[in-house]
């Protein structure tokens, strides 16, 4: 094969490499965008609350403005087999689930062994799903990442509903 043809093919290889790269970037589309709601939310507290978003705003974001927030003190079970149970909130995280080593042992057939975890950061409590079978719900949203919990929010695990109270 002539030298010219080989040179053309060599350049073709380089071109193909870049075509691959560009098609991967094109195919990724907006996949690499981290949406607003998945940014860690605790940073937002220091700034004035931004204008409310459209209807797509998740229920977990609370625009409470600058007023000092009352700190939740109790975790109360408001529905489900354990209704009425109360747990005092300290500064330690709380594990929710059916396993005996959990802080709150849920006697709920639809809860997983280690179902979810409530943990404090700053003056807020965050809820995180631990890969449970049936998922954890905060208001109407299923948790996909750690989210802030405000007093009065319905945390639903299986058939059990819990709330933070001040």
């Amino acid at each position: 094969m002539s030298e010219l043809a080989i040179t053309v093919l060599q350049f073709g290889l380089l071109l193909l490499l870049w075509i691959l790269i560009l098609s991967i970037i094109a195919a990724q589309g907006r996949d690499m965008m981290v949406s607003k709601r998945s940014r860690t939310r605790d940073r937002r507290n220091d700034k004035p609350a931004p204008a409310p978003h459209d209807s797509g705003t998740p229920a977990t974001v609370h625009q409470t403005g600058q007023a000092p927030r009352p700190r939740p003190r109790r975790l109360v079970v408001s529905e489900g087999p354990l209704v009425g149970t109360e747990v005092e909130l300290g500064s330690a995280p709380i594990m929710l689930g059916r396993a005996q080593e959990c802080t709150v042992v849920l006697e709920d057939d639809y809860a997983s062994g280690k179902h979810a975890r409530l943990f404090p950061q700053g003056s807020r409590w965050f809820l995180e799903d631990l890969g449970s079978t049936n998922g954890t719900w905060l208001g109407d949203e299923q948790l996909t990442r750690a989210s802030t919990v405000e007093p009065g929010d319905r945390i639903r695990i299986g058939k059990t509903v819990l709330e933070l109270r001040t």
């Binding site: 380089l14 790269i21 799903d129 079978t133 049936n134």
Partner: protein, 485 residues
């Protein structure tokens, strides 16, 4: 939630990209043949079809077993691996090497089969969390193996090989994975202790020593063993892995500061005490010094020839088969980046580095997407392992940092590194499958059975998620929520 929000499997995207990747890999092989052999003999087509069969087989397994896995990882990895084989084949035409390409292809096959087996058998990465301490023990054993008398083998000044019969293997490569599992598992379990308890000094909070003791022991053993073995590249990589994972777990910037200080301290100590390391520093500082260049052992000949090779390649390279990459010692393993720079030029090498960057970003995307903490830390750790290997190798060859021997992932000749990197690919694909899999929003599953132990089978109920069309699933959800109120 509309249908567009639902994650799609995107396996067809993967197939198209994979075909492009195979075109590049096999095209590179063919170019080598055209430039250096008189005609394309059957072995070229056999090699090409083996690679294509392996890659397409992997793709089919993903379709069956991990439908929602990241669609970009496999094409990127196949491109890099194929280019590596082509370059190794090209170097087989020089006097220094012979038959390495066939061995590399064989190892590629072994590694891909091993990755498929891992993917098939593991199903869910969260099972590895139970192996936290077992993998610590395994890492220590793997790291110690090469210094066991009779088993270990000293090569090129580093004692990292184990030979059993005719086979030789670098167990340290596998230790990367087991150590990443240990760090992720340990930090996922103990994050709260490390985060909440601690002393505040200035703006930074330092954790208590006893919360970190197991971590420091692991780190010290790894580093100690590697220093005894003279394997500085891996020592740097394990330390970077440790710092990065703990930083991601705690989001405390103090870890980066502590890590940086330790690296500086370690570099100074290594310079003072380890002659091997001092030599590397000398080469780095005065590479073009005549006396160091002409030194018989431990001179800068290899590094300088590599730089000359890069310069010779220029912007577009000499073309596969037209350069002289074999002027550099170890051109097909440690210095393969210099060979690529010479024959594919800046345009080609830049594209390959970009592929590594994209692979890293896909690993991190899996980490961001997954819901469980262990998976996040594991994917981050594996991503850091990949990127540090590339940084240490490319930085060493371009004289950004002192040169240390590490295998370039997927490119360099060497079976153990290839195997380890393919196993990492399998793990990350599993994690990304778990991250992108639609959350099952069907009727709740009674967890009384296995759930009582605290370990669930997360794939249970996935049938509802996979076969129900998006609309009906959304309806189920509405119905479900409505019934609850």
């Amino acid at each position: 939630m509309n249908a567009a929000d639902h994650p799609k499997p995107r396996r067809n995207v993967e197939l198209v990209l994979l075909l492009l990747a195979l075109l590049i890999s096999i095209g590179a092989q063919v170019l080598v043949g055209l430039a250096l052999d008189d005609e394309l003999t059957t072995p070229y087509w056999v090699e090409g079809s083996i690679l294509a069969a392996l890659a397409l087989g992997f793709h089919v397994v993903l379709r069956i077993r991990a439908k929602y896995a990241d669609p970009f990882i496999l094409p990127i990895v196949v491109t890099l691996n194929g280019l590596g084989i082509a370059m190794i084949h090209r170097l087989d035409f020089t006097a220094a090497f012979d038959g390495v390409a066939d061995r590399q292809l064989m190892w590629t096959g072994v590694s891909m089969v091993a990755a498929v087996v891992l993917l098939w058998w593991l199903k869910d990465h969260r099972k590895l969390r139970q192996l936290t301490y077992i993998s610590l023990a395994a890492s220590i054993v793997l790291l110690l193996l090469p210094i066991v008398p009779g088993l270990g083998q000293d090569m090129y000044g580093a004692q990292v090989w184990v030979s059993i019969g005719a086979m030789s293997f670098q167990p340290g490569e596998i230790a990367k994975i087991t150590l990443a599992i240990f760090f992720a598992g340990f930090l996922a379990n103990n994050r709260d202790l490390i985060l909440l308890a601690g002393r505040k000094i200035g703006p930074m909070t330092f954790p208590r020593a006893r919360d970190l003791a197991p971590l420091f022991i692991a780190w010290l053993v790894a580093l100690g063993v590697l220093i005894i073995q003279n394997d500085l590249g891996n020592a740097l990589m394990f330390f970077g892995l440790f710092v990065a994972v703990i930083y991601v777990a705690t989001s405390r910037i103090s870890w980066i500061a502590i890590g940086g200080a330790f690296i500086a301290l370690g570099a100074v100590l290594a310079y003072q005490m380890v002659p091997h390391a001092r030599q590397r520093f000398e080469i780095w500082f005065n590479a073009f010094d005549d006396e160091i260049y002409n030194r018989e052992f431990g001179g800068s000949h290899q590094l300088v020839q590599g730089i000359f090779g890069l310069a010779h390649g220029g912007l577009t390279g000499t073309g596969l088969g037209n350069g002289n990459p074999s002027m550099v010692a170890l051109a097909n393993s440690d210095m393969i980046i210099a060979a690529f720079g010479e024959e594919l030029g800046f345009i080609g090498l830049g594209a390959m580095l970009l592929l590594f960057l994209m692979l890293f970003s896909r690993y991190m995307r899996a980490a961001i997407g997954t819901r469980d903490h262990f998976g996040k830390l594991l994917a981050t750790g594996l991503a850091v392992v990949l990127v540090l290997q590339v940084f240490v190798v490319v930085g060493g060859i371009t004289r950004v940092i002192p040169m240390t021997g590490l295998a370039t992932p997927f490119l360099a000749a060497g079976g153990s590194a290839l195997l380890a990197n393919w196993l990492i690919v399998a793990l990350v694909l599993l994690i990304s499958h778990n991250a992108r899999r639609p959350i099952v929003v069907g009727p709740m599953v009674n967890t009384s059975g296995e759930g009582a132990t605290g370990i669930e089978d997360p794939l249970r109920g996935s049938d509802t998620g996979q076969h129900a069309p998006a609309e009906s699933r959304a309806e189920t959800r509405e119905h479900f929520l409505g019934g609850e109120r």
